[in-house]
């Protein structure tokens, strides 16, 4: 009797579960068949009336039915949930080609990038970075660099003077003199000095009354011109490409003796001649030389014990050459359309 009832309940429940079309219906079925007041519980309660032989048989059947129904409900539930999730995901579909919310970043200035690149190279070679004042004493800007007051290479008209003895520095070389003084006659001195310099020029495509310079100085026992050549070769390859060659031409600067001008083989044409190198295959990059003994002496170094080399370059020129920039004023106009192009420089 009870057995038949259980089997019937089983059929009813399974049919009910399989036809449930939502989680709510399924939950109702669960309460109806497995709830505390449900028919299976009723059957269990009435089992006491059964014989001792029948009781375990019916009991076992009741448990099995119960388990089966519960399992089917779980299965059906998972099924329904999966379908719901699928619907939800379908609904949440978006146009992934729409632009994202970007976080706008700014750009470093091209000159800052060039200077940093040079600094990092030379730090790696054991040079530290020295900076100095932009308003400089005449002594450090000229005299300590072997340019006495009446030196013909010195033209008052080229400088922005503040008083007779003070001016806007015309090069970063005075940092050399300051640095040597600080070392009180004891080497080695290995520094790179980047900074702003000022000349009494009218601003045009190739002139700027303010521009940047990077000066390098290495003073020690037995520093040789061949060392300068070696260091400059490393620099040229680092900045302009591994297959660059350099050449040194004699030149003149009052603070170096001998003085040289460094050319690199043209990075555009590889030396065959083009408009970048004006057909020569070589591009003038910087001036350099062996520190003049007068400069060493005036800054407290004994030229019979110490030698050194110095070089000076213009980051604007490097940038203009590297990127084909046609007007030096771009660096100081700060047009965002200019600056942004060098975000990765």
């Amino acid at each position: 009797m009870l057995k038949e009832k259980l089997l019937e309940l089983r059929e009813q429940a399974l049919a009910n579960i399989s036809s449930a079309n939502g989680l709510k219906a399924l939950q109702e079925a669960q309460i109806r068949f497995l709830g505390k007041k449900g028919p299976i519980t009723e059957v269990m309660k009435s089992m006491g009336k059964l014989s001792a032989e029948e009781r375990p048989v019916v009991g076992q059947l009741a448990n099995e039915v119960r388990k089966l129904i519960a399992a089917r409900i779980e299965e059906k539930k998972a099924d329904l949930e999966a379908k719901l999730l699928e619907m939800k995901l379908e609904h949440e579909k978006i146009d992934v080609t729409l632009p994202g919310r970007k976080i706008a970043t700014g750009s470093p200035h091209l000159l800052a990038s060039i200077i940093q690149e040079v600094e990092d190279l030379f730090i790696g070679l054991g040079f530290s970075i020295e900076e100095g004042p932009e308003v400089e004493q005449d002594y450090y800007n000229f005299e300590a660099l072997n340019l006495p007051k009446d030196h013909p290479a010195r033209d008052m008209q080229d400088s922005f003077y503040i008083t007779d003895e003070l001016l806007m520095r015309t090069h970063t070389s005075p940092v050399q003199a300051h640095t040597l003084e600080k070392h009180k006659g004891v080497g080695p001195v290995k520094v790179i000095c980047p900074g702003k310099v000022y000349r009494r020029d009218n601003d045009d495509a190739t002139h700027s009354h303010q521009f940047m310079q990077i000066e390098g100085l290495y003073v020690d026992h037995h520093v040789r011109l061949s060392d300068l050549k070696g260091i400059l070769t490393v620099f040229a390859k680092h900045m302009f490409g591994a297959d660059r060659e350099i050449r040194l031409r004699p030149s003149f600067f009052p603070f170096t003796e001998p003085s040289v001008e460094m050319d690199i083989s043209c990075f555009r044409c590889g030396g065959h001649g083009c408009n970048v190198c004006k057909g020569t295959g070589w591009i003038e990059i910087l001036g350099a030389g062996m520190v003049h003994p007068n400069v060493l002496r005036m800054s407290g170094f004994d030229p019979s014990e110490y030698t050194g080399f110095a070089f000076g370059m213009g980051p604007e020129r490097i940038a203009m050459l590297k990127y084909g920039i046609e007007d030096i004023r771009h660096f100081y106009t700060n047009d965002i359309r200019f600056l942004r192009q060098f975000n990765r420089a």
Partner: protein, 805 residues
């Protein structure tokens, strides 16, 4: 310096070396050849013709019918030059020839008469009219007799020459003359040079009977010599000399003037000639000019002198500004018969000052300024006398009348010859070094390790051992010197703490969307006075001689420059901008000419926070955007919690939207909104700026990082909403809360500000989130409540705050 390839061959054998090769070699040895000019470039078919007959053109008054012998044939040529005449030898452009500016000569009919070519003026052959001698300026050129008829005319006009333009720097002044260039080229090519000693035919009468000299000018005149030349016939100088002068960029005038110019070009020694009959005395006195003394120079200008100028006088009045320009009163003219020839050595600095002040830079003064061969002065006087005998029929009186020494000793340099290898990093033998120095015509003696070098006076730029290092290096060629890496102690290097943190600041600014600007330090006086962080209203440091008003003073703040950058972008339809700059500002120091230099960081933002996109327009930036940038920056640099913001009033800033930035009680910057008046003046929309004295704030670099273990116990968060008068600042509440929070209070964050209908009209509500924490244990509710209530009480007592119900 214009160097004629043809002329140079007088002194050095240039066979096998083209002008281009020579130019390359000179450049690679230290004197840049800027370019080579070929004066006859493009000319073709120009021959020497002889005018056999010259008749009036029947139809045209100003034209002549010439029959011209061209060697191979005789042709009729119509010529319009006023100076054409029978018997002349002239340059003729034959039919089919090319003359200057690539003009082709064709057979032509002029007023009915056939013309088979053209007789040429120098202009038509490409000569610069400025250098054409006066006698040929308005007509054809006429050769002297020695030129063969029918020959190619170009060599006889030096139009087959190549002119090398040498860029002479301070150290290469020894090449400001042909003999100097010859020595240089001889050394470069390792070829001997040929020089002839001038031979002067003198009369028996001593010059000293006619003239005496005294010098009263301290050490500024080391030599003054004079020759007297009589019975001169002033006339044009010979063709070869005229053409050499023209190719050197000097206009031929007359034999007397041309000879002194020629000798200056050849020897480098400036000479001056006086018309002796106009000299006005038999005595030369060289002295300083009196203050305000005046002289009319050759160019007709009245010159006011000072007591620093050297003046040549006849004992009473000035006859020449020494080394710069002669006086009009003694100028050589067509009528001159007797000449006083001056050859002197003047102090370079003195000449430089005078020439600069009178704005009279001449070929002579620039040679005095850069330096002369001290031992060539009397030779130059002899050379001029020699040429004037030959080309001006001069009678030269015996001897040079002089004050001072004609020559000085050669300069001696003693050094270990190995020093050259040590400095260059080369591996020369002693013989190689000596060989190179001897190519330069230096005299060298070697004693074991020591080298004695005697340097001729013409190389006055070579004075110390290092100069000899350079001579050897440049003549040998730096390209042959190896590239090495320094052998010295390897050293470690790194950025200084400030340099490191400055790079971090740049990176943070970029990541917050600000682009780096570089603006000028020199600005207008007005701009240089605005937006100063401290000590506003101080006059900026100014340059004494500015190029323009815009760059006359040193900036005390970066903000005005950034305002210009913003305006630039606004004017170009780029209204959304964010810029920053790190750079020096120059702050005047009381009682000192030199300003203090401080590196500042400044920023400017205006426009939308982000670009408009498909989600719509973003909000505009505002005060809290700029403040957020500054706060984020300072937090990242771990100083944010030591910074206080205080309302402030600053010129050019919005009076209600500006805050000073204080660090340890000192104002180190400010931020806020530009004053609407400024925005209007510059055509800006709402614009926000900041400036920070970043160097003084961060010069120590970043503080060390102190690590704390992760919390093992939970923290407790309690929110608190306080109603206060509107005048109470958020910072006041924040401060009182923190002061009373005991060590248990770990953080305070304002999360809501409310003004409106739920509070009184003069009140506002501010809600804070407070976090309590003890690293050693879990806090009980009671413990937190005690602290929390203390805070509420303090806020009530100190700021009248009430808990919002």
């Amino acid at each position: 310096m214009l160097v004629s390839y043809k002329w140079l061959q007088d002194y050095v054998d240039l066979s096998g070396i083209t002008p281009e090769e020579l130019a390359d070699k000179i450049t690679n040895s230290g004197i840049e050849v800027e370019h080579i000019v070929y004066p006859g470039e493009g000319l073709k078919g120009i021959v020497v013709g002889k005018v056999e007959s010259c008749e009036q053109h029947p139809e045209a008054e100003k034209l002549h019918l010439c029959q011209v012998d061209l060697g191979a044939e005789s042709v009729q040529i119509v010529c319009g030059a006023p100076n054409v005449a029978a018997g002349q030898k002239v340059p003729v452009a034959t039919v089919g020839a090319r003359i200057a500016n690539n003009v082709k000569i064709k057979r032509a009919k002029l007023r009915g008469e056939i013309s088979n070519g053209m007789i040429c003026s120098l202009d038509e052959l490409g000569f610069d009219h400025n250098y054409v001698p006066k006698e040929y300026a308005d007509g054809i050129y006429v050769f002297d007799d020695e030129v063969p008829v029918g020959a190619d005319a170009l060599p006889y006009l030096n139009l087959d020459d190549a002119i090398l333009d040498l860029d002479i720097l301070v150290n290469s002044a020894h090449c400001m003359n042909m003999i100097g260039v010859a020595y240089e080229v001889g050394a470069i090519l390792d070829r001997p040079i040929k020089l002839k000693k001038p031979e002067v035919i003198e009369s028996d009468q001593p010059a000293s009977e006619k003239i005496s000299i005294s010098v009263d000018a301290g050490d500024k005149v080391s030599y003054y010599g004079a020759r007297v030349l009589n019975s001169i016939k002033v006339a044009p100088s010979p063709r070869w000399m005229q053409l050499r002068l023209i190719n050197a960029g000097v206009r031929p005038i007359s034999n007397v003037v041309d000879v002194s110019n020629y000798v200056m070009l050849e020897y480098g020694q400036p000479l001056h000639t006086f018309d002796f009959d106009q000299f006005g005395s038999d005595h030369v006195l060289v002295r300083f000019a009196g203050d305000h003394e005046e002289i009319t120079t050759l160019d007709g200008q009245l010159r006011k002198l000072t007591d620093e100028d050297l003046l040549i006088t006849n004992g009473k009045k000035g006859v020449a500004v020494a080394g710069v320009m002669g006086g009009e009163n003694t100028e050589v003219s067509r009528a001159t018969e007797n000449v006083l020839l001056e050859a002197a050595i003047f102090d370079p600095i003195s000449i430089r000052k005078t020439a600069a002040r009178l704005q009279l830079r001449s070929d002579a003064s620039s040679r005095y300024e850069k330096g002369l061969d001290r031992n060539r002065v009397a030779l130059a006087a002899d050379r001029a006398a020699e040429l004037l005998v030959r080309y001006a029929h001069a009678t030269v009186l015996k001897g040079i009348v002089e004050v001072g020494e004609r020559t000085v000793d050669e300069h001696q340099i003693t050094m270990p010859w190995q020093k050259i290898n040590q400095v260059l990093g080369a591996d020369f033998t002693c013989e190689q070094i000596v060989g190179i120095l001897r190519r330069l015509n230096f005299i060298v003696d070697v004693e074991d390790e020591t080298m004695h070098v005697s340097v001729p006076a013409r190389r006055f730029d070579v004075t110390i051992p290092e100069d000899l290092v350079e001579e050897v290096g440049r003549i040998y060629g730096y390209n042959h010197i190896p590239a090495t890496l320094p052998e010295g102690t390897s050293s470690h290097a790194s950025l200084t703490p400030y340099q490191k943190i400055r790079r971090r600041v740049e990176g943070l600014m970029n990541s917050m969307g600000l682009t780096q600007a570089y603006t000028y330090s020199l600005t207008s006086k007005e701009n240089a006075s605005f937006y100063v962080v401290n000590n506003q209203g101080v006059e900026p440091t100014q340059v004494v001689w500015p190029m323009s008003e815009e760059h006359a003073a040193l900036r005390q703040s970066i903000v005005p420059q950034l305002i210009n950058v913003a305006q630039y972008h606004l004017n170009r339809q780029m209204p959304d901008i964010k810029f920053y700059e790190i750079g020096k500002v120059f702050l005047p120091v009381k009682g000192e000419a030199r300003p203090a230099e401080e590196e500042h960081l400044a920023g400017i933002i205006t426009g939308k926070r982000t670009e408009r996109n498909w989600e719509g327009e973003s909000d505009a930036v505002d005060f809290f955007s700029v403040k957020g940038i500054v706060e984020s920056l300072l937090d990242s640099l771990a100083v944010g919690d030591q910074i206080v913001y205080a309302p402030s009033k600053r010129e050019g800033m919005h009076p209600g939207q500006t805050a000073d930035i204080l660090f340890k009680g000192e104002v180190i910057g400010y931020l806020g909104t530009l004053h609407p008046k400024v925005e209007k003046d510059y055509g800006l929309s709402e614009t926000f700026v900041f400036e920070l004295a970043i160097e003084s704030l961060l010069h120590h670099g970043e503080a060390d990082i102190k690590y704390h273990g992760l919390p093992r116990f939970p923290s407790t968060t309690r929110d608190i909403a306080l109603v206060v008068k509107r005048t109470v600042a958020a910072a006041d509440l924040d401060r009182v809360i923190r002061e009373n929070g005991t060590p248990l209070l770990k953080s305070v964050r304002l999360f809501d500000v409310y003004e409106g209908s739920h509070v009184a009209p003069d009140e506002k509500s501010m809600a804070f989130s407070l976090v309590y924490f003890d690293p050693e244990r879990t806090l009980t509710d009671e413990e937190v409540t005690i602290v929390h209530e203390k805070i509420v009480r303090a806020c009530a007592e100190q700021l009248g705050a009430e808990l919002r119900g």
